[in-house]
């Protein structure tokens, strides 16, 4: 917390040296978020790479307010959303029907890095609509407030809350046997 405030303080004063530290501090969390959103480790790393390159280019031209973690998570989610949209355009098949998450979650490398314990969750997340998945992850994993998520997605807070509620419900029913065990 203390460090974040100092990082923002320095970033806002054009000190680009802090970018190394910001990257080191948040890289794993951002790759995880992107990975859970995109279900593809390489795509996830590309998304994080793009976000940081953009962040580096824009440093000095804008001032950060609020949470550094929240800001970066929102950027990653926006990038992942764009990637997902272009994937959809390429595939011309709705995500839910394409069964993309389930097949992706069979990726051995992906399962290996997340571990068997979380494989079910990962697969369950994959069965949510992309919008629900994004809300659930941004809220729970990245700790963003509904208001911030709504602004990021360009929808109302109640829509975001609805996506969250339905997403969690769906996840619960999908994982019920695993969770209750």
């Amino acid at each position: 917390m203390l460090e974040d405030k100092l990082l923002i303080w320095k970033f806002n004063r054009g000190n680009r040296e802090v970018l190394h530290r910001i990257y080191e501090k948040y890289k794993d969390g951002l790759v995880t978020l992107a990975g859970a959103l995109l279900h593809d480790v390489d795509e996830a790393e590309d998304a994080v790479h793009d976000v940081f390159v953009g962040f580096i280019r824009s440093s000095g031209s804008f001032k950060l307010t609020g949470s550094l973690r929240g800001y970066l998570a929102t950027c990653v989610a926006n990038n992942a959303r764009n990637r997902m949209r272009s994937q959809r355009r390429r595939q011309c098949v709705p995500l839910d029907e394409a069964g993309l998450p389930a097949s992706s979650s069979e990726d051995a490398a992906y399962c290996a890095v997340f571990g068997e314990q979380l494989r079910q969750l990962n697969e369950g997340l994959g069965w949510l609509s992309y919008e629900q998945r994004e809300v659930v992850l941004l809220r729970i994993y990245s700790g963003l407030k509904f208001k911030a998520i709504a602004e990021s997605q360009g929808v109302s807070i109640s829509t975001v809350q609805g996506r969250y509620r339905y997403g969690l419900e769906k996840l619960r029913s999908l994982l019920n046997s695993e969770v209750e065990r």
């Binding site: 190394h20 530290r21 794993d28 480790v41 619960r172």
Partner: protein, 411 residues
């Protein structure tokens, strides 16, 4: 645990590691941006002027003449003006290499200073901080030492002989405020920024005797955020590091001294034991670790006043039942045996009245949401029933546990 909570917990456990390839790519991109930024700065100033001069034929001739004169002057005065005049940016640059610093912060009218020891990591981020507060700076706690290390704060209350370990946003914010107040690096950057914005008038006196310090007087202009404030900064001529900052305030037409910060031992490694209070605190001190146990009561849907009164009520109920474990939990997590040691001789019989809660009389505590709950309880003393009025029971949110409230201080 409810299934939804289990799912939430599982989601927070998701973890991927960034690959070495990504690390390399991003760090390279940052380094390239840094290099480009440095090149851009020099390219936009020096060649820009040169290009304007050399694009004009008459200017070319004039420039040639100027070069000759300058060369002659340079030879004449070489040795007298080899060192460039001091500018704040030199101190900013010098601060980049600082890893350790020891600070004394004196206030007008107080003999003892606040003392700070700060260790920074390689990227200049605060790693460990130790702050020694004398009585006057203790906010009612008496003299105390605070150490911030590994995202945990340890507070050693010397008079009360209590060592509290907490991890908390409010504490982090306070630490940041203190760091900002006393960090010479931030102070210089702050001045540099204000100077650029035209909010301060800066006068620099650089004595020819290199053993004397450079004096930087920064006077905040009336329309600035700190009107009537003046800083006088002393800068070592050799290292360009700040050795002291004196602060003055304009009162009745005169600049009156309010504080001075002195900076010592730049880059002299600080012994690790300075950041390890466990070794320094005596064995018989009370140790309360709020990072490993739940403190107080959850607020739930109650108002601040209601939860404060409820915590006080439950505390006395626990004392009546001689449940010192519960009472300790409601009183900052004090160990049961310590609480029994302190209050075991009192026989609590019944609660006569609790509340109403009111804002804490100490402004700093009230600002953190602290309330005071007047209580009257019946106790047995020397075989007689006595009404014990306690008018300074403080109740506040637990620092590191959102939505939980605890009794604090003394009763």
């Amino acid at each position: 645990m409810r299934p939804a909570e289990k799912i939430e917990k599982m989601i927070t456990k998701l973890e991927l590691k960034a690959s070495a390839r990504l690390d390399e790519e991003v760090h390279d991109a940052i380094s390239a941006a840094l290099d480009k930024s440095k090149q851009t700065t020099s390219a936009t100033v020096k060649p820009g002027v040169w290009r304007i001069i050399m694009n004009n034929r008459i200017s070319k001739l004039a420039a040639a003449a100027v070069i000759m004169v300058v060369a002659a002057l340079a030879i004449t005065f070489m040795g007298r003006f080899t060192a460039p005049a001091y500018g704040l940016e030199q101190s900013i640059e010098a601060n980049h290499s600082v890893r350790y610093i020891y600070i004394k912060d004196f206030r007008a009218g107080e003999d003892e200073p606040r003392q700070f020891w700060s260790e920074l990591d390689e990227s200049g981020q605060v790693k460990n901080v130790r702050m020694d507060f004398p009585e006057w700076a203790g906010s009612g706690d008496g003299p105390k030492i605070i150490v911030w290390k590994d995202n945990k704060a340890q507070v050693w209350l010397k008079k009360k002989k209590i060592l509290i370990t907490i991890t908390d946003k409010a504490v982090a914010d306070h630490m940041l405020k203190w760091v900002e107040e006393c960090d010479p690096k931030l102070a210089v950057e702050h001045l540099y920024e204000r100077q650029a914005r035209g909010e301060v008038k800066i006068q620099i006196v650089q004595p020819s005797n290199k053993s004397e310090v450079i004096s930087v007087t920064a006077t905040y202009l009336p329309e600035s955020s700190k009107p009537n404030v003046r800083w006088v900064m002393s800068v070592d001529q050799g290292t360009k590091l700040v050795t002291a900052i004196q602060v003055y305030q304009l009162k009745g037409g005169e600049w009156q001294y309010t504080s001075v910060m002195e900076f010592y031992d730049y880059n002299k490694p600080i012994d690790a034991s300075m950041f390890a209070l466990n070794e320094e605190v005596p064995d018989d001190a009370m140790r309360i670790d709020q990072t490993t146990q739940e403190i107080g009561l959850p607020k739930g849907e109650l108002t601040d006043e209601q939860i404060a009164a409820e915590v006080a009520r439950q505390f006395f109920k626990a004392l009546i039942a001689k449940d010192y474990t519960m009472a300790g939990k409601l009183f900052e997590g004090i160990p049961a045996e310590k609480l029994q040691e302190g209050l075991g001789h009192v026989k609590f019989l019944r609660i006569i009245s609790i509340g109403p809660a009111a804002p804490h009389p100490i402004a700093a505590i009230a600002a953190m949401g602290g309330l005071i709950v007047p209580c009257t309880v019946e106790i047995e003393k020397d075989g007689k029933l006595v009404q014990w009025k306690l008018d300074r029971i403080g109740v506040r949110p637990v620092h590191s546990q959102p939505n939980r409230w605890t009794i604090f201080g003394g009763i």
